[in-house]
Amino acid sequence: MIITPLFLDFLQPAEAELSAAGEYVRYDKGDDAAEMFGERVEQALAEAATQIAKEIADNETGKPFDAPDEAASIKWAQPMYRLRVETATKRKRGSSAGLWYAYYSLRDNSDTGKPDTLRIHAFRHSAARPIGTDGGASE
């Protein structure tokens, strides 16, 4: 059976966060790293759109295998998921460098009863903390 990947879209604030992340990587690591960052994020989200579509097709409940993120789902009263996006060529275990979180929801835009869209709500660095909790601004 041929599985069509989920349609991928972004909410405007998430696009702004991704753009800012790209500029941060360029500032911190240079042009080559920034270009690679963009390629890896695009690849990771495209793979997720394909993998989750397959999980939804395989699962009798029409849901992906991964559980929603509890804190975000409870806060906003709807299933909200978190995807780990690794952008570093080589990331050491235990290090937050090159690890980002894409928060996403699954939407049924064509009203078929099953999700057809992977919607990105936020794109955050894994080391980001609320301002003031560690004496400085978020990374």
Binding site: F10, L11, A67
Partner: protein, 109 residues
């Protein structure tokens, strides 16, 4: 006794045939129980096991160090809240458009 059907590559399938049904059941039970205990309730055993399979440790990895992760925090929740407001206002952008813009933005200067 619960039954679980899984698809195996040819090589794994032929290897599995060398075990008795009892041994196959025991191996599968150990594999899934171990995977589930590693998960800590945040991600599915499937996702974590898949991730581990795709990232085999090498000399630079110290597997005794747990991989980095953190809980969703208030800033994350606030960012999601802003996005839901944007969604209500119809500020939705196709992924193709987003990545075309990003590629253009991040082109070498």
């Amino acid at each position: 006794m619960n039954t679980l059907t899984i698809e195996l590559p040819d090589e794994a399938y032929h290897a599995a045939l060398s075990f008795t049904p009892q041994e196959r059941g025991n191996l599968a039970a150990v594999m899934f129980t171990t995977a589930h205990s590693l998960v800590g309730g945040k991600e599915s055993a499937f996702a974590r096991t898949k991730g581990q399979a795709e990232h085999e440790p090498d000399d630079e990895d110290d597997v005794s160090i747990p991989d980095y992760d953190r809980e969703t925090n208030e800033d994350d929740l606030a960012a999601i809240g802003r996005s839901l407001q944007a969604e209500a206002e119809g500020r939705i952008i196709s992924g193709d458009v987003v990545f075309a813009r990003l590629r253009e933005q991040l082109k070498k200067r």
